[in-house]
Symmetry: C2
Subunit: 353 residues, 2 copies
Amino acid sequence: MSETNQNLTELSSLGEFGLIDHLTKHISLKQKSTIKGVGDDAAVIRPSKNKDILVSKDLLIEGVHFDLVYTPLKHLGYKAVIVNLSDIAAMNGKPTQIIVGIGISSKYSLEAIEEIYAGMIKACEVYNVDFVGGDTSSSKAGLYISVTVVGEVDKEKITYRKGAKPNDLICVSGDLGSAYMGLLLLEREKKAFRADPNLQPDLSGNDYLLERQLKPEARVDIVRLLEEKEIVPTSMIDISDGLASEVLHLCKNSGTGCMIHEEKIPIDQVAFDLAKKFSIVPSVAALNGGEDYELLFTITQGDYDKIKDETDITVVGYMTDEKEGQQLITNDNQMIKLEAQGWDALKKRDIDV
Amino acid sequence: MSETNQNLTELSSLGEFGLIDHLTKHISLKQKSTIKGVGDDAAVIRPSKNKDILVSKDLLIEGVHFDLVYTPLKHLGYKAVIVNLSDIAAMNGKPTQIIVGIGISSKYSLEAIEEIYAGMIKACEVYNVDFVGGDTSSSKAGLYISVTVVGEVDKEKITYRKGAKPNDLICVSGDLGSAYMGLLLLEREKKAFRADPNLQPDLSGNDYLLERQLKPEARVDIVRLLEEKEIVPTSMIDISDGLASEVLHLCKNSGTGCMIHEEKIPIDQVAFDLAKKFSIVPSVAALNGGEDYELLFTITQGDYDKIKDETDITVVGYMTDEKEGQQLITNDNQMIKLEAQGWDALKKRDIDV
């Protein structure tokens, strides 16, 4: 991380309190529920009437969740917030505050941490979320980011993983598999760069896939859309581990089977073409690739008319009785058991691209 | 971590979901505000009427905040929760829920993580707090624990670092400096053990100091006591970095000066004796040593009668006008400027013991 650049500021020159003051001085608060943000022993939040509070936490760990070789620090900060906001959306809620913990090796400069914070604060601006607290500490090695998100939801609209019933329609927002194809592309270029450091990366035409991997968004807009359409999903989860794994979570929690149609799975054309080029079945990237952060939810058949013209929501199948199992109808009309290979497994498979 | 013991379970044998299921299966929920604990995208909390929500987060990082050479994993889990509960107490609130993030190297066995969880769940039982969520991930090296605590407080009773006025009395709970003396003792034995691995550690008679360092408590009982006595402190903070540093925080936030009497600082006899033996001025351990997790707070003079017979609360000085500065009256009646050396500085000083 540019240790050789003499213009960068060493972290130790600021001290812990100086560092926190420096990083948080540009934060502005917008949520009326935020009574006190950074600067005391705890943040103070005044819940809105008739709302429940949602709290979730996700860790991002260097070498496990991200690779600094191709991850810009600002994007990393942005993504660390997004993956948490997505968990609140998955409960049919709206994120309101975040609290951030960062463990960072002293080899990083102040400017590097500023980039991470800039990405986090940007995400807060985009999603109208308040940054209300942080704990920044040195680590002996590696970068650790722990974000906790607080959100709120109408008591009557909380959507759990459980709650789906047979015949409910299974819907996904956006498209799937693009983040995984973006990852494969970055991994390919990393390998090529290692083989020949003079090589220029060949990422042209794939901006969308890179953005899906490096700077994803949380589908809080879908939560708003469902509210406008007066739909309360019967179950919901966000897609962080691939469609297959998440559908199985809904089935397990709801006590249902499911029937997913491979041909219905929404895949972006660029992702589709790249998958073909890499000799990957495109739907496998959608089913088992991860990090799309789209929403997967079920609705009653009665709500179908309300969403049938929404281009950003796709019905990919329906729930069935538990005894019918979890099934996938393939493009060539085979019925196979839906299994969660998970994106960890995909990652570990050494794909020659 | 006993890598050679063939009876231990490798983490990879369970997988992420199996691990979380395994670790959280014994958790029971007691807070009526907890609507949903572990097992969905977010925990759901239903705030009590007229209460504000408090949220805080503290990281514990291996090699920075703890040394596994002498820290039992169960105590570490307990302490990771306690340091967070203490932040809620410092706002005059009561902790209600925690969410835990653990990054752990695959060299650890399942049994090691179970110990950490056992300590966390124990702390939850002792403090009547619900364990409502967790994210457990592998790390490339080192153990990272990030706990987020949620608490509640009557709107009218929130106590910030700001709010103290000149002439308010400065109070501390319990005694100070013991946790630091416990640390010095453990560091001495670690050095001796490294010099001669056959040496038995000499920790006799110092159980109290070791417990203060390895298994501290959060003074939620003091929050309850203040409530019974109908006292709302004018300012409050918990003592994690030493009395001097924390008093200066209250002064800075409240815009006051202060006068602290060295002779009033409560120091346990065992800590006092050990400090003398180690050629350390005992009050220096209290002023600049850290991790006592006692509460430092100010009350109006009118409230003095309510606490004057409380053996667990000591008045150590009073607030003054800001222009009078932050002062310490030493045992030999010198007035010196109160400075925050901080416990990091103390730690780095190589003390020959």
